[in-house]
């Protein structure tokens, strides 16, 4: 299982749906997609409905995205995060840094 990234654009919001593992390998695919989405949109949402798990490499890319969004005055939101994945964000202190909906 790898990662499939699907981009859906509406008005000013861009939703990146992440299906699969966000790991050391696939985080490298997510990074440019996320950077581009943040640069082109005021609002970006990462949809975790189909995400299996996030490793520390995935967390790094998401954190970098949050920093980039902040610097550009954009908003990055994480949506449909499962309980299991939320545990990972919790244990690493990321719940305080990121926005969840």
């Amino acid at each position: 299982m790898t990662l499939t990234i699907t981009k859906n654009k509406t008005e000013n919001c861009c939703v990146l749906s992440l299906a699969g593992r966000i790991d050391t390998t696939t985080a490298l695919e997510l990074q440019p997609e996320l950077e581009q989405a943040i640069d082109e949109n005021k609002k970006v949402a990462l949809d975790f409905a189909e995400a299996a798990y996030v490793s520390s490499a995935g967390l790094r890319v998401i954190l970098a995205g949050e920093k980039r969004a902040k610097a550009r005055g954009s908003v990055m939101t994480l949506i449909n995060v499962s309980k299991d994945i939320m545990e990972v964000f919790d244990m690493t202190g990321f719940t305080d840094i990121l926005k969840f909906e």
Partner: protein
């Protein structure tokens, strides 16, 4: 007990994860994902630091009983990741503060993590109750 001998490089991560997923057939999805996160952190650590700048092999042994036990062996430089997290030089300075994230996640997700040096081998074992 299932085993995989593989060159320790990050390009092989997906092969390692697939191996563990197959070896752990019957383990719940929640448990499997927790274990896969830990496996990734350990393997990437070996790939990045054990043989750098050369390359070498890692041996991964997986067994499932009441506990899932996965052992990682490498013949690289002596290194106990539980004592110290090597800085991730690939990261920019502002991101390097979370360099110890991986080992923190392993400790949190697993029931037991042990390191021992046996001859010229680093042996790291992770253990998690099966259900």
């Amino acid at each position: 007990m299932k085993e995989l001998r593989i060159e320790a490089k990050t390009e092989n991560l997906e092969t390692v994860l697939d191996f563990v997923e197959t070896a752990l057939e019957g383990v719940s999805m929640k448990r499997l994902n927790q274990i896969l996160i830990a496996v990734e952190e350990v393997f990437v650590n070996i790939a990045n630091y054990a043989y750098s700048p050369n390359s070498g092999e890692a041996l991964i042994l997986a067994s499932v009983g009441d506990f899932v036990i996965i052992e990682f062996e490498d013949s690289g430089v002596p290194y106990n990741p539980l004592e110290r997290e090597a800085p991730d030089m690939a990261l920019r300075a502002e991101d390097r503060v979370i360099g110890g994230l991986g080992i923190h996640m392993i400790r949190n997700l697993m029931d037991e993590v042990t390191y021992r040096r046996d001859g010229n081998k680093n042996i790291l074992t992770i253990k998690k109750e099966k259900s």
